[in-house]
Each structure stands twice: as structure tokens, then as C-alpha cells.
């Protein structure tokens, strides 16, 4: 990326014998919203802490705007950080919390008052200046933390699972608020989360972390629709993994013989040798159920369970050798448990993963 603002170059971090971040390269563009998503212990938070300056890399370099920052102490990096537990100063009022970074930068008293008022108005907390953090709800505290991280207009804002402690409704509201602020202020945001929905709804790009490496990075639909590996396919959303052997390849279509003996066709840009073992990911909502077969890519299944989810039904269907999960709109399904039906999906809606 030519206008990249943040560069990680071959960054590693080890604690004793544990390698937490492993020889990692990552570039983040100016104004981008990048989520780092992964299971706990995958290195995403450590990477963020290195960017903020609370940890230093064992090897490799980090630069922001072309300048190396990995030797700079945190207070000289000019980044706003929002922590999971908000980290508001309990001995200061809300206004003093938000004024803190301005005082550190030697702003005049009138300027502080003006900017604190503006920042608190932005997060709709204009009436709470003199409250103590402990007197606020979780969502309000989180908005104070956000105002505090934004008030000094940092180039980069880092967020470490900032919405983890909020309930679902509030979390969704805050997701929209943060997105909105990101667009309005043109901030560069690096956002750590283990919540895949959060990453999918908020980010320009998502980096999927696993064992200290980035398994895949790309836009939300890239990651969801075209997962490159089994780990990504299973970590983001639900998936059905079918394994089989390539029997022939032509014109970007692979014919794969599944373990149960049935053949399906898979669209694939890579021409794979016949005989090669492959895994195929099919999203549950891409599978259609029909009472009788009428084309290709069909698997005979027996419905073993139907679970009502309100807006959709989740159906367990047995192919004989394995179980499929299918997400279906509830008005199109008339099947009963025990019924034998046909599950089908088009070659373009399944994907080879490694």
C-alpha cells in the first residue's frame, strides 16, 4: 500500500519460550479501520500493545508515518488508546478525565474547556461533566473513554476489545457510534476484538490472527465469502467442511469426490491435480433444501433436527457420513425431522480451503 500509515515489519514478540507474535508484516493505510480478530492468545492484543508502546518487540520494526516508533515510550507516540475496562481515572471527574491529555500537552485553560465540552457533546455526555466515572453506566463510561482518546486529535486510535463488557444492545449501538465517528473524523483505527460480528460490521479490513501470525487479511466479504484456510472458515461465521479428492479439473471447475462417494463441482481459480485431497467450505445459508433432485451438487440427506431461531431455522441434516448445518428462511421450509431431502449448493458458493 503506497499511502500506508502504520507498518509492522517482521515483528516478533516472545515471552520466555512462548512466541506470541511471529515474524509478522502488516501495513495499515491512513484513515483505515482495521480489526484484528482471533482467539485469545493469538497475539492480536500483544501486537496492539506494541503499537501503543506498552510492550516492545523482540525483533522487527514498527513505524508510523515513516518514522520508527518501536523505541519511543508510550507518552511520545500520540495515539489514543481505548481499553476493555475503559481505564478511566477514578479519582477525577469526567471532565478532568477528558481534559487529561490536553493538560499533558500544555493547552490553555479556555482551550481545554472548549475542547472537553465539544468532545463530551460528541459522545452525548454533555450533562455529565462533574460526575465521577463510578456514577456512570458501562456504556457511558465507554463513551467517556472514547472522548478522552479522541479529544487530543491523535492520528491513530487503538481499541482493545472496547465493547467486550457491554450488553448486546448497547454494544450494537456503540458499534454504530464508533463507525460514525470514524467516518466523520477520518481517523485511522486499529480495533482488537474476538467478536466476529463486530469485526464484520465495523471494519474496512479484517486481519485474522492465529498463533501469532495473520492467517488472512481482507475486506469483510472477502474473509467471509472466500476464506483461504479451514481456520478462517471456522472462525468467521459457521461453516460446513467437506473433505474429498479431486477427480478432474477443467475451465476453473473442479470435480471432487466426497468421502461418502458422491461427486460435487467446485469453482476454483487454482488448477489442482487430480488425486489431491481437498477441504471444501460451504456456508450454512448457501445450502438449499429441496424435496427432489433437479441438478448438480446435490447431497441426499436426512433431516435430524430443526431449531427455531426466530428469523431463520437451523437445520441439522445427515449425509450418512457426516452432518451438515443449514440455515434456512423459515417460510420456505416445510420439512419434518426424519424426512429425506436433497441439499444443494452451486459450485460458486463453495470454496476450497487449506
Amino acid at each position: 500500500m503506497s499511502d500506508a500509515l502504520i507498518h509492522f515489519d517482521k515483528v516478533s514478540k516472545t515471552f520466555g519460550i512462548m512466541t506470541v507474535v511471529d515474524d509478522l508484516d502488516l501495513s495499515i493505510g491512513k484513515g483505515e479501520f482495521v480489526s484484528m480478530l482471533g482467539p485469545s492468545g493469538s497475539g492480536k492484543t500483544t501486537l496492539l500493545m506494541m503499537l501503543a508502546g506498552f510492550e516492545s518487540p523482540t525483533s522487527g520494526t514498527i513505524s508510523v508515518g515513516g518514522k520508527r516508533v518501536d523505541a519511543l515510550p508510550p507518552h511520545k507516540r500520540n495515539m489514543g488508546v481505548v481499553f476493555q475496562n475503559y481505564a478511566l481515572f477514578p479519582h477525577m471527574s469526567v471532565a478532568d478525565n477528558v481534559a487529561f491529555p490536553l493538560k499533558m500537552r500544555g493547552a490553555s485553560r479556555s482551550e481545554i474547556v472548549e475542547r472537553v465540552t465539544k468532545a463530551l457533546d460528541m459522545v452525548q455526555l454533555g450533562a455529565f461533566h462533574e460526575r465521577r466515572p463510578i456514577q456512570l453506566s458501562g456504556g457511558q463510561q465507554q463513551r467517556v473513554a472514547l472522548a478522552r482518546a479522541l479529544v487530543f486529535e491523535p492520528e491513530v486510535v487503538l481499541m482493545d476489545e472496547p465493547l467486550g463488557a457491554l450488553d448486546k444492545k448497547l454494544r450494537e449501538q456503540m458499534q454504530m457510534d464508533i463507525r460514525d465517528i470514524h467516518h466523520r473524523l477520518g481517523l485511522t483505527i486499529v480495533f482488537v476484538t474476538h467478536d466476529q460480528t463486530e469485526a464484520l460490521t465495523m471494519s474496512d479490513r479484517i486481519a485474522i490472527f492465529n498463533h501469532g501470525k495473520i492467517e488472512q487479511i481482507g475486506g469483510p466479504s472477502d474473509i467471509y465469502d472466500h476464506p483461504k484456510t479451514q481456520f478462517v472458515a471456522e472462525f468467521i461465521g459457521e461453516t460446513n467442511l467437506l473433505s474429498g479428492k479431486v477427480s478432474s479439473a477443467s475451465n476453473g471447475l473442479l470435480t471432487v469426490t466426497l468421502e461418502g462417494g458422491q461427486s460435487i463441482r467446485v469453482a476454483s481459480a487454482a488448477a489442482l491435480e487430480p488425486g489431491k485431497h481437498v477441504k471444501i467450505s460451504v456456508r450454512p445459508e448457501r445450502i438449499e433444501l429441496r424435496s427432489s433432485g433437479e441438478g448438480q451438487n446435490e447431497l441426499k440427506v436426512k433431516i435430524s433436527d430443526i431449531v427455531y431461531h426466530g428469523d431463520h431455522l437451523q437445520i441439522q441434516a445427515d449425509t450418512g457420513s457426516r452432518s451438515l448445518v443449514i440455515k434456512a428462511p423459515r417460510n420456505v421450509v416445510t420439512s419434518q425431522i426424519g424426512q429425506e431431502v436433497v441439499a444443494s449448493f452451486s459450485p460458486e458458493q463453495c470454496w476450497i480451503v487449506s
Binding site: F54, H75, A87, F89, P90, F100, R105, R148, A149
Partner: protein, 261 residues
């Protein structure tokens, strides 16, 4: 496991009586008008409090106690707080656990042993029979109380608060001044109060290192009870107990404030 409520109440009361009885035995004697320290009390009077504040020996000892107590509090609180900050977050390192043990050692080493050692050492450095010497001696045994209290307070501080302050532009010195110390303040105040109480109460080390000019109230009571058993001791004891209750109140207040923060 549940004990009968009645059994609990009886046992609790018995323990309280056992602990408090000596106090209640001596307190009324502070208000006797007799010159003997015994019952029955012929008449009620404030003469021994008057004696306490006018007799030269007692007055000096009260001033000495306040002076030495204040000096000890300041020195022990500063050193103990700095030590706690230094020991913080290095619990895994062997060197630091050795340091921590050494700092807390004066709590368990017999005061007599410390006293003998200090007397010999102070004599060599010209500190024997000086205020500075007594303050240093009291500081040694007061520091563990400060360290225990401040360490507990520091452990209660979320490191992310300090990280947040740093990310917002605060240098390490500013983080310490504006975040760490204010949040640890309840622990520092409790430590300081304990240090003052320790100094006030200390007799053994004072016997070894103090000269006649540094006689504290505790030391004065000790010699008075051996030389002439005067009810002034009871009056001094009364002041001590009232002082202790005030101090305990202060500690409670500081801790309560700490919980609120």
C-alpha cells in the same frame, strides 16, 4: 459450618472482656485525687492530667513523643512508599523477594536484638543519645507497616490506568504524581498512621538508643512505674488510649475512602 448464635455471642463477649478489661481497670484511676495508684478512688479530680502537662519530665516526654513520632512518620512513610513502588510488579524475581523479606524483617526480629545492635552502631557514628538516632531506630520498625499497607494499595491499582495515562501523553513522573500516588493515598495514609502509632508505643529500642533528653511518654511511663507509682501513669495511659482510638478511626476512614475510589 454453623455455630449456635448464642455460643457465638457469649464467646465473642468473653474475648472482648478479656482484651478490654485491663483498659477499663486503669482508666478510672486517671481521675483519682489520691496520690496512690489503687482503688477505691477517694474523689474525682483532674490533678494528674494537670501534673502531666505541667511537671517538667512529663511535658518534655510528651513533646519528645510528638517530635520523634512526626519524624518517624515522615521518614518511614517516604522510605516505605518508595520501597513499595520499587518492589512492585517484580514478585517473580528472586532478588526482589529477598529485598521484600529483609524490609519486613524488623516485624519479627526481637526488639532487644535490634536495640543492642543499634546502640553499638549508633555509638560509633555519634548517633547515640540523639533525636536523629531515635527517629532512625523507630523508622526501622515502622517501615514494615508502611510497606504492607502501601503494597496492598498498589496491588489494587489497575496497571491499565497507568498505561492509559501514558498513552494520553503523561511521562512516567507525571503518571506517578497524578495517577499512582493519588490512587495509593489511602494505603499511604494508613501506613503513616501505623508508623506514628508504632513510634508512640515503642519502649525497648528507646531504652537502648535514647538518652535522658529523648525520653518519650512510653519510656517515661516505664520508669515512673518503677520509681514512684503515680496515678500520672494512668492519666498518660488515658491519653494513649484516646489517641489510639482517634488513630484507629483515621485508619478506618482512610480505608473507607480507598474502597470508594
Amino acid at each position: 459450618m454453623r455455630t449456635l448464635p448464642i455460643g457465638k455471642a457469649v464467646f465473642g463477649t468473653a474475648v472482648v472482656i478479656f482484651l478490654m478489661a485491663p483498659l477499663f481497670a486503669i482508666l478510672p484511676l486517671a481521675f483519682t485525687d489520691s496520690i496512690f495508684l489503687n482503688y477505691p478512688i477517694p474523689d474525682f479530680s483532674f490533678r494528674w492530667f494537670h501534673e502531666l502537662f505541667t511537671a517538667n519530665a512529663w511535658r518534655r516526654s510528651i513533646l519528645n513523643s510528638l517530635l520523634i513520632g512526626t519524624g518517624t512518620t515522615i521518614l518511614a512513610t517516604v522510605l516505605g512508599t518508595v520501597a513499595s513502588l520499587g518492589l512492585r510488579g517484580n514478585s517473580a524475581s528472586l532478588l526482589f523477594s529477598v529485598f521484600r523479606t529483609v524490609f519486613l524483617l524488623p516485624m519479627v526480629v526481637p526488639a532487644v536484638v535490634l536495640g543492642v545492635g543499634m546502640q553499638l552502631m549508633f555509638a560509633q557514628y555519634g548517633l547515640a543519645n540523639t533525636y536523629v538516632g531515635v527517629i532512625i531506630a523507630h523508622t526501622v520498625i515502622a517501615i514494615p507497616f508502611v510497606i504492607v499497607n502501601v503494597t496492598a494499595a498498589l496491588q489494587g491499582i489497575d496497571r491499565r490506568l497507568e498505561n492509559a495515562a501514558a498513552s494520553l501523553g503523561a511521562s512516567p513522573a507525571v503518571v506517578l504524581r497524578q495517577v499512582t500516588l493519588p490512587l495509593a493515598m489511602p494505603g499511604i495514609v494508613s501506613g503513616a498512621v501505623f508508623a506514628f502509632a508504632t513510634s508512640l508505643d515503642e519502649v525497648v529500642l528507646t531504652l537502648f538508643v535514647a538518652g535522658p533528653n529523648q525520653r518519650t511518654v512510653a519510656r517515661q511511663m516505664f520508669s515512673t512505674i518503677r520509681e514512684n507509682i503515680s496515678p500520672a501513669i494512668a492519666a498518660a495511659a488515658f491519653l494513649f488510649i484516646v489517641g489510639t482510638i482517634v488513630i484507629a478511626g483515621l485508619i478506618l476512614l482512610a480505608q473507607k475512602k480507598g474502597q470508594r475510589a
